[in-house]
């Protein structure tokens, strides 16, 4: 019980952190430093696909949780591994997006857009990475025979963090990728 409150507080404080980063991004996007051409560098389609991977990992983790509560350890392990795979795929996707941008000379130091983009998505990626690390650890412990009592709060707790990371991405993806394109469509 305490663990759930603890992780909710952590999520709360991290939400404030992302709020600061998002506000800086939005603020800069309204200055002349950001040109519409810069948003063209972003690959909306492939990032959308990778985002689906990330959002699915929330679903798979939720399945892991429910199976844990029911005591289905084998299914639990399966869903955990799937979560890891999906999360890793997202990171790889982000990595290829970064690599492509760097090739096109969009870097953290190249322009205001580069600065804000890489910082916001970078910190999100860092949080994904940290989450995957934790999920990897509890997966390993599950395989080692831990968590054989369905009263443990570990999965719920980690789940709250993991879902948070996804919700942040929903917001960030919407603001960074979707919104500029919407503008173009609606003129």
């Amino acid at each position: 019980m305490e663990n759930k409150l603890m992780i909710k507080l952590v999520v709360g404080t991290e939400a404030m952190f992302f709020l600061s980063l998002i506000m800086a991004y939005v603020y800069f996007s309204l200055t002349p430093g950001f040109t519409p051409q810069q948003a063209d560098h972003l690959d909306l389609r492939s990032t959308a696909i990778f985002s689906i991977f990330l959002f699915s990992s929330s679903f798979t983790f939720w399945r892991a949780e429910t199976n844990f509560k029911k005591g289905n350890m084998t299914r639990l392990k399966g869903w955990l591994l799937l979560t890891l795979a999906l999360g890793l795929t997202f990171l790889v996707g982000q990595g290829t997006e970064y690599a492509r941008l760097l090739q096109e000379n969009v870097s953290i130091g190249s322009s205001l857009f580069g600065t804000s983009f890489f910082t916001l998505t970078g910190f999100h990626g860092l949080h994904v990475f940290a989450g995957l690390l934790v999920i990897a650890i509890i997966t390993g412990l599950t395989f080692a025979g831990d968590y054989n009592r369905s009263t443990s709060s570990v999965f719920t707790t980690v789940g709250i963090y993991w879902h948070f990371v996804d919700i942040v991405w929903l917001l960030v993806f919407g603001i960074v990728y979707v919104f500029p394109h919407l503008h173009k469509i609606t003129g």
Binding site: S20, F28, I108, S111
Partner: protein, 567 residues
């Protein structure tokens, strides 16, 4: 938390079972016991107090006469920057967290914090942050752009020494320690209270910590974001704060003060909590207006995020913006100041005992009023336009930080020292310390109000020989050395008490809350049994069953549960 029989603690080491009651250094640095961690925080605070104090003594020596050449501007700027940064992050906050982590579990009848290992992690991370900050002195130079480190001066092309990078890294680590500690406090307070201790009858110190912890969780991320962005600017050539790259110098100020203003409430709310314990005990009366004290604390926490621009009235944001934040800043002065009257009303009609703790509390009433009034003057925008960034601000901030925070910590120290150490400090010497410190403090800082009004800006390594500037600065310097002497005396008093002070009883002050029901110091396990808790003053109820609070003022306490153990 009751009559259950519990396994007694080992009085001697049991090597075969790997159980040791050794109290050597290895045990201390690996401890997860909240009391030991609390003491570690307090010693950290004392260490950095001496360091930051020495820094400012050098500064005051340089400022003692006009056109002085004792220190180069390069050295001076590092000293004043480190003084401010250290005092806030490595003296005030660790001291507050030290008392918090020591006494919150005791006051709520718990045997430790919710997450003991996280507690230790928080302390050591803070310690690491402080070490990292100070490492800068030997790694190319300490930060030298002031404790709030404005852009673009903090950018690499204006500050190429690594000091500012160490500032960022050190504070990031300290921030992680602070945030994790606050998470721990909230969970502990909400889940580990004795079941009969509802929020309505929780000790006010614990209330203030609860409110304060939310303030920390909401405010520190802004600082962390700013520090991260600055590191990216400096190391990876990002453009957050450099106008040349399209960034915004003002963005730094917004992010910093969104943290910085709540931060000042972070270092004063727990102090209000300490005083709300001290005044009732030493006046032999309950706190006047318990719910008002809690309510004003919550009001402050909420308003704290709506006032930050009052640090930026002179940045040209326009009169509409200025007007809004002037209103909010004036408003926040009300819940902050009203408590002074709560405490005075607590004393009124009481039976006041002048322990050293109470002396600091009484002095605080006046000193904090001075600091609060000078603070309110800044909410009056045109006055701010004259006095911001002058020695008047320096006077204001020291009256609230020292006259408020430090006096509160000292009051708490003299109140709780017998409980923590099992010893009583020498009363006569302690009173000498009080008078010497109060005298030194007022001598140092009262004149600084005048210096500011006379035109002396802050953060200047020297000043021209204008009429009155020299003598007032000299007076201020003399006061500073008096304060230093007093602090030296304090360290002597504490060490002497620890070595051969009179043994303290469990309840030397005839106090009201649960920490006084255990031994001085408490054993490793705080409580085997806990007295009934049916009001905000459970120990007093226990000692005076005929006049128990829950009998005389049932509206402010809970009624006895059917299966509570009575007498």
């Amino acid at each position: 938390m009751t009559d259950i029989n519990l396994v007694p603690e080992p009085q001697e080491s049991l090597p075969d079972l790997s159980v040791s009651n050794d109290q050597g250094i290895l045990q201390w640095i690996s401890s997860v016991d909240h009391k030991q961690i609390g003491i570690l925080y307090l010693w950290l605070s004392v260490l950095f107090l001496v360091v930051a104090g020495s820094e400012i003594l050098l500064v005051r020596l340089q400022l003692a006469i006009p056109n002085n050449h004792l220190l180069t501007p390069e050295v001076y700027n590092q000293l004043f920057t480190m003084h401010g940064t250290t005092m806030i992050f490595f003296v005030a906050m660790p001291a507050i967290f030290g008392f918090t982590t020591y006494f919150v579990p005791l006051m709520i009848g718990a045997n430790d914090m919710a997450f003991p290992r996280l507690n230790a992690f928080s302390f050591w991370t803070t310690f690491f942050g402080g070490s990292l900050l100070y490492f800068s002195f030997i790694a190319g130079g300490a930060p030298d752009a002031g404790w709030f480190n404005y852009a673009p001066l903090n950018q690499y092309n204006y500050s190429s020494s690594p000091g500012i990078d160490y500032y960022c890294a050190g504070l990031l680590f300290a921030g992680i320690g602070t945030v994790t500690a606050s998470v721990n406090f909230v969970v502990t307070i909400l889940y580990y209270r004795v079941p009969s201790m509802s929020l309505k009858i929780m000790p006010l110190f614990v209330w203030m910590i609860l409110i304060n912890s939310f303030l920390v969780l909401a405010a520190f991320p802004s600082l962390n974001a700013a520090l991260a962005m600055l590191l990216l600017d400096r190391q990876l050539h990002a453009h957050f704060f450099s106008a040349v790259g399209g960034g915004s110098a003002i963005l730094w100020q917004h992010l910093f003060w969104l943290f910085g203003h709540p931060e000042v409430y972070i270092v004063i709310l727990p102090i209000f909590g300490i005083f709300s314990e001290v005044f009732p005990v030493f006046s032999r009366k309950p706190i006047f207006g318990y719910s008002m004290v809690v309510g004003s604390g919550i009001a402050i926490a909420l308003l704290a995020f709506g006032v930050w621009v009052h640090h930026m009235f002179a940045t040209g944001l326009g009169n509409t913006v200025n007007g809004f934040f002037a209103a909010s800043s004036l408003l926040i002065g009300v819940p902050t100041g009203v408590k002074i009257f709560n405490w005075l009303a607590t004393m009124h009609g009481g039976a006041i005992r002048f322990s050293v703790s109470m002396l600091f509390a009484i002095a605080f009433l006046i000193e904090f009023t001075i600091g609060g009034l000078s603070g309110i003057s800044f909410a009056i925008v045109p006055i701010d336009w004259q006095l911001t960034d002058t020695y008047y601000v320096v006077a204001h901030l020291h009256f609230v930080f020292i006259g408020g925070t430090l006096f509160g910590l000292l009051s708490g120290l003299f109140y709780w020292f017998p409980k923590m150490s099992g010893r009583v400090p020498d009363l006569r010497l302690s009173k000498w310390f009080f008078w010497l410190f109060v005298a030194g403090f007022n001598i140092t800082f009262l004149v600084q109000h005048a210096l500011g009004a006379m035109g002396m800006p802050r953060r200047v390594y020297t000043y021209p020989d204008l009429p009155g500037w020299g003598i007032l600065n000299l007076i201020s310097t003399i006061g500073a050395f008096l304060m230093a002497a007093a602090v030296g005396l304090l360290v002597y008093i504490l060490i002497k008490a620890l070595k051969k002070g009179v043994i303290a009883t469990d309840d030397p002050w005839d106090a009201n809350t649960l920490e006084w029901t255990t031994t001085s110091p408490p054993g490793l396990k705080n409580f085997d049994r806990i007295i009934p808790v049916k009001s905000a003053r459970p120990f007093r109820d226990y000692k005076r069953p005929a006049d128990a609070d829950w009998k005389t003022n049932p509206a402010d306490s809970i009624t006895a549960k059917p299966n509570s153990h009575g007498k």
